[in-house]
């Protein structure tokens, strides 16, 4: 990986006909200008800006973690941390839904993992018709900067798999920056959270995967399994 350059809005990042303008860039009079604060990335002569800050901007196909805000006659209004609210219709829920009692499936305040299947002028439409989507019953949810999500996931999921292997937790990272951790023990979940926060902090160093591997070594081995939970069960 070569040293990555940061662009600021209005800066000329290339001149002449050698490059094509990509995302968040603009070509005016033979010069390519940056339109956003972020890293310059070049792929096949295409220059684009990868934003490093800012709010979540939804895209079609994103898997997001949302919270039910309201119930209407044919679906649910979901807060996904974007400026617009998202909508989930009963049609996109792959289970039997009693139209007179939608709250039996999702009540206000429930959290869910969903996928954006369409975006238009009216708003965002969500779907649950895919593997791994649905209501969240238990686990740990916290928020990170949405721009750091690709680093937490890593190349082809390498980073997230590393954390899964080292903590024994199941992790879902929503593109909107909300992270769900489901593990056997609270210790494991907290450790996974700590690891993710560590990645977010160190997100722009090179060889991040090795760095996180070393971090896990310095933190000791696998998290203990389920001991605390057992005590709680005994008390009950």
């Amino acid at each position: 990986m070569t040293e990555r350059k940061i662009a600021i809005p209005g800066e000329i990042i290339a001149e002449g006909e050698d490059y094509l303008p990509g995302e968040w860039t603009e070509k005016r009079e033979g010069k390519i200008y940056a339109l956003k604060y972020g890293l310059i990335e070049e792929a096949n002569k295409l220059l684009k800006i990868i934003p490093v800050s800012g709010t979540y901007s939804p895209r079609r196909g994103n898997v997001v973690i949302g919270k039910i805000e309201n119930i209407t006659f044919n679906g649910w209004v979901v807060d996904i941390g974007a400026p617009e609210n998202a909508f989930l219709t009963v049609m996109e829920v792959p289970q039997y839904v009693n139209k007179d009692a939608l709250e039996e499936v999702f009540d206000i305040g429930d959290m869910l993992v969903a996928k954006i299947w369409s975006m238009n002028k009216r708003g965002i439409d969500l779907s649950l018709k895919a593997k791994g989507l649905g209501k969240i019953d238990e686990g740990l949810i916290f928020e990170i900067n949405p721009n750091k999500v690709p680093r937490v996931i890593g190349k082809e999921g390498s980073m997230i798999n590393l954390i899964k292997d080292n903590t024994g937790c199941d992790i879902t990272v929503g593109q909107n920056g909300r992270v769900l951790i489901e593990g056997d023990s609270i210790e494991g979940e907290l450790k996974a959270k700590k690891a993710i926060m560590h990645i977010v902090e160190k997100s722009y160093i090179e060889g991040l995967t090795e760095e996180v591997e070393n971090w896990f070594k310095s933190q000791g081995g696998l998290a203990p399994k389920r001991e605390v939970s057992k005590d709680l069960e005994d008390d009950e």
Partner: protein, 235 residues
Amino acid sequence: MAKKTENFERPDGRKLNELRPIKARVGVIPNADGSAIYQSGDTIAIAAVYGPKKMHPQHQQDPAKGVLRCSYNMMTFSVSDRIKPGTSRRSTEISKITEWALEPVLMLDKFPGQVIDIFIHIIQADAGTRCAGINAASMALAHAGVPMKNLVCSVSVGKLDKTLVVDLTKEEEDFEEGEGPTDIPVSMTPDGKITHLQLDGKIGPEQLKEVLDIGKKAIEEIYEIQKKALKEAFN
């Protein structure tokens, strides 16, 4: 018009076209989506940007484009006589001026029904607060990842009697000899497009052109500092 540049001395010993020492930094408010602090001599402005987010109240939404909402405020302790907290005629005006100065570079048509909030606070004032506020706000907007055509830089050019100077201090603004002081705050993009120009006093059309030339040179210096601050924030 004759210029008496030879024998004119500024109270703080600066050259006529010399800016006050500038410090700038971004990312000073972790809770905000973007933030910046800009200091020019004894004037300090801090700006925070939130959004783009959904516009509330709903009746203020614009379905065609986003809305930029600015709030300029001077802290009670920013001047030697404590100023009353809260909005005043002056702060409402400067908020509006700041919106107008920044709007031309923003691509608000990408955010229908949404709002970008900017909060500018003047921590310490020694003239040129609106310029410091605009500089801080422009950096904070860039830092917040808002799509922009360019940054906006702002500086005040003054006419003391018949001499043109750049970046006035409070002491110079209170200059009382000859034709008295004239304050001309000007905001431009680094490529020289004017987004804001105000005039408080008297000046001839020929000299105003000169003012814009002086302003443009000062703005190039300010742009370099803003650029450096944004690039450094990343390391």
